[in-house]
């Protein structure tokens, strides 16, 4: 829990809406999304968040073709983010123009 709180971003994936295309896995700059083993309702192996390391850049949201499969959150207080700023996360931030 503490480790997750220190991340600058947070990610939720609706595994029922996800069709397992894998574009978010490819796009994620800090590489914290992978395709899981579990099959969903439709028989797709869906995207799964590693649980930590999200920078909140939001690129996974943009590359995901489903309207609501991915929800991205970002840390509100500056201290939360400052404690952990992995290099990959910085890169992700700069590549995400929509923020």
């Amino acid at each position: 829990m503490e480790a997750q709180k220190r991340d600058r971003g947070l990610l939720y994936i609706d595994t029922d809406e996800c069709k397992g295309c894998g574009l978010c896995v490819e796009a994620c700059p800090p590489k914290v999304i992978h395709i899981g083993e579990r099959l969903n309702h439709y028989g797709y192996r869906t995207a799964v968040y590693a649980g930590s390391g999200c920078t909140g850049c939001g690129i996974c949201f943009l590359v995901c073709p489903e309207p609501g499969a991915i929800t991205v959150l970002r840390a509100t207080s500056p201290q939360v983010g400052a404690k952990r700023a992995p290099a990959a996360g910085v890169e992700g931030e700069s590549s995400c123009a929509s923020n």
């Binding site: 939720y12 609706d14 069709k19 796009a27 590359v63 929800t71």
Partner: protein, 488 residues
Amino acid sequence: MSSELTSDYTVVHTKSKAFYERYERKDDLQHQTHFCPGCGHGNIHKMLASAIEELGIKDRTILVGPVGCGVFTYYYFDVGNVSAAHGRAPAVATAMKRSSPEGIVISYQGDGDLSAIGTAEIVHAANRGERITVIFVNNAIYSMTGGQFAPTTLIGQKSTTTPGGRSAATEGYPLHVCEMLATLEAPVYIERVGLGDNKQITQAARAIRRAVENQVRGVGFSLVEVLSPCPTIWKMTPVEAQHWVRDVMEKTFPLGVFRDRTREAQPLPQQKPAPPLEEIPGILGVADADLPEGNAHAMEGSREVDLQVRIAGFGGQGVLLLGEVLAEAGLDAGLEVSWLPSYGPEMRSGTSNCHVRLSRQPIDSPLVAMPDVLVAMNEPSLRKFDASVRPGGWIIYNGEAFPREYERADVHVLARPFTRLADELGDPRASNMVMLGALLGIADVLPQASIDAALRRLVKNPRWVALDERALDRGRKIYKEAHEGVLP
């Protein structure tokens, strides 16, 4: 999500409010689209939805959907939705925008829709500088129908209809819509973007937002072409398809801005809104007072009426007007009527005829194959229709004498030089009304009030109304002098 986890976080990206919460197309999993995994439509839908939500225009957006995989826009977008016939979205969007200038009208089309069957519509909408936004989704193939070759298919690309790959020699070259439209004067913003990698995707979102924003500012025609992956038909994984957009498709369709006058463009002056429906009769010169009141002089009683008339002559003789006055009077009298004109492209001196039916019962067909009355305004018309007259029927013929070769024992004939008679009344052009007068004498089924009303509705010039009334009287007298009523 637990509140403990999210207390320090705020949502920055989530499903746009411009989407419906649930899509009623399917019975279950109603929050999932119908698109294949990795389909570019989903991304473009999301970009468009964010633009609509961010610009606060959800309640005045009208989305014109295409034919193709993108057809179901109305299941997803909680905005006004219209479906257009294949390729016609820009024409429909034009109508939408012009009739609702406050609306934000977005035409969403694929490459089969926009660049094949709809080429004319998009070129002319762009050339007119319609203040609409067009999202052009280009995946270089007809996907929904199973992968046929499209105008945008790449050279060498295989499709079900170009199994050996597209060849320039037989199928021509890929159509570059942005480049083509950028040769026109009117468009304000034209850009091609792709969904080939993160960078391209973020640029695509920016371009789509800008194209919509341009319309909010009212500056003019904006089009964004999006190179979009179709993993299913391209037979690739979603990730391979994404790379193919960037590594292969982009070589044929270079990304970039082809026209950008958004900065210097001034909001165009408000187009005059379409007139309200109630003003249109006045504009067309058929104002309320002149409009058919319908059944104004509905006839009492249950007398059967079934009158079938064929009127024929040269164009310019008033053939169609004669029929119109008859039909209009029938309408006024509360009858079922039909009026079917039939003429060639010549406005004058070509042959012209019309079919008129008046009946108490609903009319099964407007065609009059066996008329009760034939009004033949010249000899060729008589020759053509003489034999078709129902036995026991009438022929009203415009001529000094009825030609012997057309005489029939089983029909009544009223032959007079109607043109000369009309000339005596003041104008030879009133000959049609003299003949109508004779016809009304023969088929005495309409009240005089209905005929007067019809004449006033159809003939605007009071001088002509007066002449036509004299002509009708003259015609009735001619009939009376010759015969007494025979037809019911």
